[in-house]
Every structure is written in C-alpha cells, then in structure tokens.
Amino acid sequence: MKNQIKIVILGLLVSIFIFIFYFGLGSNTKNNPQVMVFKKLPAIELRSLYDNNIKISLPRLNQEKFYIINIWASWCTPCRDEHPLLMKLGIEKKIKIFGINYKDNQASARSFLKDLGNPFYYVGIDPDGTNSIELGAYGVPETYIIDSKGIIVLKHVGPLNNDVYKKILTKIE
C-alpha cells in the first residue's frame, strides 16, 4: 500500500515535468525561420542573372499592392514541378515575381528559364546562399509574398501546389 502511494506521487511528479517542458518547447520560436513572417523585408541587393553588372534591391516600398519573391535553382526538381504555377502567376495574372537563383550554375539557370519559360520580373543571383539566409530561407524552393509596405505577409516552404496557389490569389485579390 505504501509503495502504491509512492508510485502515484512519482507518476504525478513525472507528469508535471512533462507538462512544464512540453509547454517550454512549444513557446520557443527563436530558431524557427517562420519568424520572418510579418516582419519587414531585410535590405537585399542582387546582381541580375542576365547581366552581372546590373544590381537591384528587392523593393521595400512599391506601388504594387503585393509582389512575390521565389527562391529557386535549376538543380532543384521540385522547382521544376512548381514552375507552371509560377508561369500562371507571373504571365497570366501579371503579378511581379522576383526570382532568387540559389547556389546555381548561371548557364544552367538561364537554359532552365529558356526551356520552361521565364515568369520572373527580375532574376537575381545568390551564388553563396547568404541573401536567402537573410530572408530566413530553409532551402529551395521557397515563396514569399510582400505587401506594399515591404512586410512579408506569407511564406511557403517547398514547391507551390494548387492549394497554395489559391491561397496566394485570395491574399492578393
């Protein structure tokens, strides 16, 4: 009988331990790249894929209501999968898309766009990946929606799909 009481007390202590640290785990978002969402876009300057002498900054203030940033690479197969959706957004819906070409060979990046079409308003290169890290990117592909005040209002990690496509459209329209 005495042992049973001890075991019950032990069980209670262990449950309290789990409870506290479970919430401790949940409350921490410091290392999560998602934190960039609803923050102002950092200042990022990118050289153009087509002319390395041209350098432009991603707009932090603009007349457009929204624009899109897409991080991609020619070696990334999921990027190939999402490309038709980017074409729809960029060509059909005429939304400005800034492409960040991530750790890529420039020649293969250009032929990628030549073969599959170029949905981008501007393609900047990020050869060592540092600019993408500044955006809080995990890897490729990733898509961001920026509003007129330069705030990141939506972030999608991984290839775009029809659901995300609809989400982007409802956000923008």
Binding site: L10, L25, S27, N28, C76, E134
Partner: protein, 638 residues
C-alpha cells in the same frame, strides 16, 4: 564510379542501422522468452547478439563518416551541414555537428559501454550480467527507434544537389569539434551504471558486492565528462571571447548537473561497499545521474535554451526525448520502490566522525550544490512558460550561495580520508589536523602579506584549499608513497588547487572596458594600455579589422593583436581575441568594431590572474578519475 561508391556507403549505412534495430530488438525478446518459460538462457549467443548490434551501429556510424568525407549530398544531413570545400577535419566532425549524426553517436556510445561491459565482466555471475545487458539493450532499442523514425541520418534528398549548405563559421573550431564525443562518452556512459543498478535490484543482488562491481563503471564516464567539461570551458575562454573560464551559462550547467550527481555517487558507492550503508541513497543517485545526463542533452539540444548547441529545432523531436526521459525515470523509480525495500537493509546509525559520516555530509553538500544549479538553470524556463517573462540568472547567485559551502566541503575532503570506516578515529589523528591547520594558517598569512590582500572570503578560500593540499602532501609522506590511492589523491589535490586558483583569480583579475583613440592610451590601476596601430583587410565574405596594442604593468610589457571580423550576410561579428600569458596569468584583449578607428575603438581588457593553474587543476582532476579507473583494485579497505 566515384558517385556510385558514395551512394553505396549511405545505403550500407541505412541497412546496418535497420539490421541493428532488428538485432537489438531480438536481445530483450530472447531474454524475456527465457524468463517467461524459465528455461536456461544460452548466455553466449545472447551476448553475441548484443555484440553484433554494436558492430552494426559502429559500421552505420563509419558509413556516415564516409558519406561526410566524400560529401555525398544525396544525404539530407550531409547536404545541410557540409560543403565540398570544407577541410577534412571539419567534414569528419560535421558527422556529429548536426542532430541526426549526434544521435547516432549517442547510440554508438550506449552500445559501446554495453560491449565493454560484456568484454570486461568475465567473472561476473551470469544472472546479473545478462540482466544488465538486457536493460542496456532496451535503452539502445528506444533510442534506435527514435533515431530511425524521427531523425534518420541517412535520409535521402532527391534530386541530389551539387553543393552543400555549409556550416556556421563560428562552429568551425578544433576544440569545439572535439568536445561532443568526450561529453557523450561521459553522459551516455552513465547508462551502463543505470542498467547495472536495475539489474542488481531485479535479481536481488544489490549489495556491497554490487558496489565494488559498479565502481569502475562510474570512474570511466566520470573521467570523460570531466575532460569534456574542461574542453568546453577552455573553448569558451579562447574562442568565444568571453574572458573567463566559467559563466554559469545554462549550457555549461547542463553538463555540470550530472557531474555533481556522479561525484556524489562515486563517494556514496564507497560507503556502500566499505560500510554497507547508503544503499537507497546510492540507488537514487545512480538513477539521478543518468536522468540528469539525458535531461542535460534535452535542455541543450531541444532548442528550449537558445544556444549554439540547439540542433533539434523541430519541437516534435524534443517532445519525444522528453517522453523517453520521463518513461525511463518512471520505470527506474518504480523498480527501485518495489525492490529496494526487500534488500540492502540500510543501517541508518552513523558514528560521529567516522569515514562514512564525513562522506555523508559531503554528499549532502553536493546535493545542495546540485539543487542550486538545477534551480538556477530551470527557473528561467519555468518563468518564461508561466509568466512569459525572460530573466537570466547570473554568476552572483551561484557564487554567493555556493562559496561558504565550498569551504566546509574542502575541510571535509581533507579530514575524511584520515578517518576510519565504522569508528570514531578522530581522537587518534587530532594532532595531525591541528598541525596541518597551523601550517595552512601560517601560509595563508604569508600569501595575504605578499599579495597585500585583507579580506575574510579571500582568507577562507586560501586557507581551506591550502589545508586540503597540505593534508594530501602529508598523507603521501606519511604513507611513504606505498599503498596510495592515486585516484583520490590526484582528484582531491586537483580540486584543492582549483579552488585555490579560483580564489586568486576572483580577487586579482582585472576587467576593464574603455574606448581608446588611435595612438592614445588608457590607464587603469597599474595597467597602461596603448592603442598603437590598426588596419583592416577585406576578405570574400567578411572584413577583418586588426588592432595592435601594448600593455604595460610595472616592468612587464606585452603586445597584443586582437581582431574582429564583420561578416556581410547576415551581418555578424566574430571576435578573435589576443592572449599572452605571463607566468600563470593571462593578458587578454578583445576589441569592438568601428568604421573609423581613428575616433577610437572600444576594447575589453582582462588580466586573468592564475588562469593557467585553473587549467592545470582540471587536468589533475581528470587524471584522478582515470587513475581511479585503472587502479581500482589496489584500494583495499584501509
């Protein structure tokens, strides 16, 4: 061809890992089957299966190292943490520089200890030995499941990228790369003692004899843990530019908690062996040591503390580790509660001033220190969970609470070994104590006179540590260098020296921050720092600003060349400190960044008094643990 070979390594690795899981699962099943049907277990094949599982885990680990060395980016972990241009050394250390690889190393160490236990326990009775292996294989199985199903190190990435994401430049440091394996050999090594304890309780063999078997399995991990902590401390001093040796940082505390618990355990297990007392207490400490090791890993790795060590950013993994810790703790204490009352009749009476009495008091002091550290480390987490407030607890809390007890602790460490097991021997050795006390008071007076320091805490710190050191020297002389317990002598002398040098360091170190214009100088007490020159250099992804300083103290003059790097993307500063040692003390400068050095640059100057002796003390303590491990048989009851 090259690529084919690379991919093969990762495939073999995954196959080894899955086979290891299946074979490991077989070990406890075999044991349970024979227990259920009460048939005689074929011990040789039982151990053989465990050994096979060890070799499979070892080969999985080697295959992972190979994948890192050959930069096989088809593996997600390699892609995310390595880079073709990394030096070979960092490619290898990159294996455990990420969550998946470090978990594999963790399991490898669990298995290694089980394997060593089988090899070195030839004379142990089979029921205790096989039950220990049974528990060890269960721990191994749990973590293998965790590894394969939540953090598979061989997870593929399709398509194969041609370059990896690299590693944070701050983490590329040789000491940093080397300290996790040592910490793991310590932390995870306590798993074997935990299994041995549960086996002892289950098979009703938890006795004084158990204590003498278990002793060596504490010394080994304790030595590694001590060494790992020392390496981490050394790294923070030389590389991180923190300017000191210990900061009571939560990450440091996470390794200190199991260290304190295991230190208490080493002593209580002696009492259990020699005086046949403290049975329950020893069992609780053994469980606590392993649980605190796991808890330390959880704190450091789960991302609950914001630290350079936080790998498992996925809270789901943190949750699994939390459940594993809780389940192991619960199961172990249930076995303890059900089994301990039947055996090890604790003789609760203690003879005042006997050997075991001194150890008991020392154990209380250690547990007190442990409680202080646990509260200091977890309280900020509790507060942030329940009140949403962020606070940090500084060194002042620890120093103020712990200092007075350390002095008592030192005296007990000096007196205890002279006392006899089971009898009050104090009257016999009383004169020795008084003589040693007089000598240490005399030496303290001399030191205090030379250094011109009058302070009660300073006197106490010096007197108590000198007292311990002299009593050890006297004991060595008294026993005429024969039949010495080198393990204890070295670790105790190391601890005495540690407190001695910490006291000196605490009272005589100088720290001072100022801004000096180019060509100018600053005076602080008897130091004069001159900012002679500076120049900056642009590198590919950072700009490095160098400074040239001259520091004068009396007739000594040293020149220091610190620098600071400003990384562009993301903007991040790393400090390259400059350290020159003079005798056992260090001159240490870290500088700030400034766009225009002629306006002056902020510098942090440290004069670290006797820091060299602190590192030497760490070496002595580690050596003590190692000698305790190899010399264990020599310690006859004295």
């Amino acid at each position: 061809m090259e690529i084919g070979r690379q991919h093969m390594a990762s495939d073999f690795g995954l196959v080894s890992l899955v086979l290891a899981l299946m074979i490991t699962a077989l070990v406890p099943l075999l044991f349970l089957k024979h227990a259920a049907f009460k048939t005689e277990l074929n011990y040789n094949s039982f151990y053989f299966f465990f050994k096979i599982s060890f070799f499979l885990i070892l080969s999985a680990f080697i295959f992972l190292v190979i994948s890192f060395v050959f930069s096989d980016f088809s593996i997600l972990a390699v892609y995310e943490n390595s880079h073709i241009d990394k030096p070979l050394f960092y490619k290898i250390s990159g294996t455990w520089g990420n969550h998946e690889g470090s978990m594999l190393l963790f399991i490898l160490v669990i298995s290694l200890y089980g394997f060593l236990f089988i090899l070195f326990s030839k004379n142990l009775n089979e029921s205790l030995k096989s039950t220990t292996v049974f528990f060890q294989s269960i721990i191994q199985l749990i973590f293998l499941f965790f590894l394969i199903f939540t953090s598979n190190p061989f997870e593929k990435i399709i398509p194969v990228p041609n370059q990896g994401l690299g590693l944070n430049p701050i983490l590329q440091d040789p000491l940093l790369a080397a300290h996790p394996p040592f910490l793991y050999l310590g932390y995870v090594g306590f798993s074997l003692l935990f299994s041995l304890l549960l086996a002892g309780l289950i098979t009703n063999q938890y006795s004084a004899n158990w204590a003498s078997i278990a002793k060596r399995w504490i010394f080994l991990p304790w030595t590694f843990l001590t060494f790992g902590i020392a390496l981490g401390s050394f790294w923070a001093y030389y590389e991180l530019g923190w300017g000191g040796y210990w900061f009571w940082d939560p990450v440091e505390n996470a390794s200190l908690m199991p260290w304190i618990a295991s230190t208490a355990l080493i002593h209580s297990i002696l009492v259990m062996e020699k005086a046949k007392k403290l049975f329950n207490w020893t069992a609780i400490l053994a469980i606590l040591t392993f649980v605190l090791s796991l808890f330390g890993t959880f704190l450091v790795r789960s991302g609950i503390l914001n630290s350079v060590h936080a790998f498992a950013n996925d809270p789901r993994r943190g949750f699994f580790i939390l459940i594993i810790i809780s389940a192991l703790t619960f199961a172990a204490f249930v076995i303890f509660i059900l089994k301990s009352s039947r055996q090890g009749k604790d003789n609760a009476s203690y003879i005042f001033l006997s050997r075991e009495f001194s150890i008991l008091v020392n154990n209380y002091l250690l547990i007190f220190a442990l409680t202080v550290v646990i509260i200091g480390t977890t309280y900020p987490i509790l507060l942030s969970v329940f009140a949403g407030e962020s606070i940090s607890i500084g060194p002042k809390y620890y120093n103020t609470i712990l200092a007075p007890f350390v002095f008592v602790f030192l005296i007990l460490m000096a007196i205890g070994p002279y006392l006899k097991w089971g009898k009050n021997f104090f009257s016999v050795v009383r004169f020795k104590f008084i003589n040693i006390l007089l000598v240490s008071i005399f030496l303290t007076a001399i030191i205090s006179f030379i250094l011109q320091k009058q302070d009660i805490v300073f006197w106490l710190g010096i007197a108590c540590s000198v007292y311990l050191i002299i009593s050890i020297i006297y004991e060595t002389y008294y026993l005429k260098f024969t039949n010495l317990n080198y393990g204890r002598l070295f670790s105790h002398a190391g601890f005495g020296l540690l407190i001695f040098s910490i006291t000196l360091n605490y009272f005589f170190s100088k720290e001072f921050t100022t801004k000096i214009p180019l060509g100018g100088s600053a005076n602080y007490q008897d130091f004069k720092i001159t900012f002679v020159n500076s120049f900056s250099q642009k590198q590919k992804n950072y700009e490095e600003l160098f400074g040239y300083y001259e520091v004068e103290k009396g007739s000594t003059k040293v020149s220091l060349k610190p620098s600071i790097r400003k990384y562009n993307q993301p903007e991040q500063f790393t400090s390259e400190t400059s350290i020159k040692n003079q005798w056992l003390s260090d001159f240490y400068i870290a500088m700030d960044y400034s766009k225009d050095p002629s306006n002056g640059i902020g510098v942090r100057f440290y004069f670290n008094y006797f820091i060299g002796l602190i590192w030497f003390s760490f070496v002595l303590i580690t050596l003590g643990g190692f000698l305790g491990f190899i010399q264990r048989k020599n310690e006859k009851s004295n």
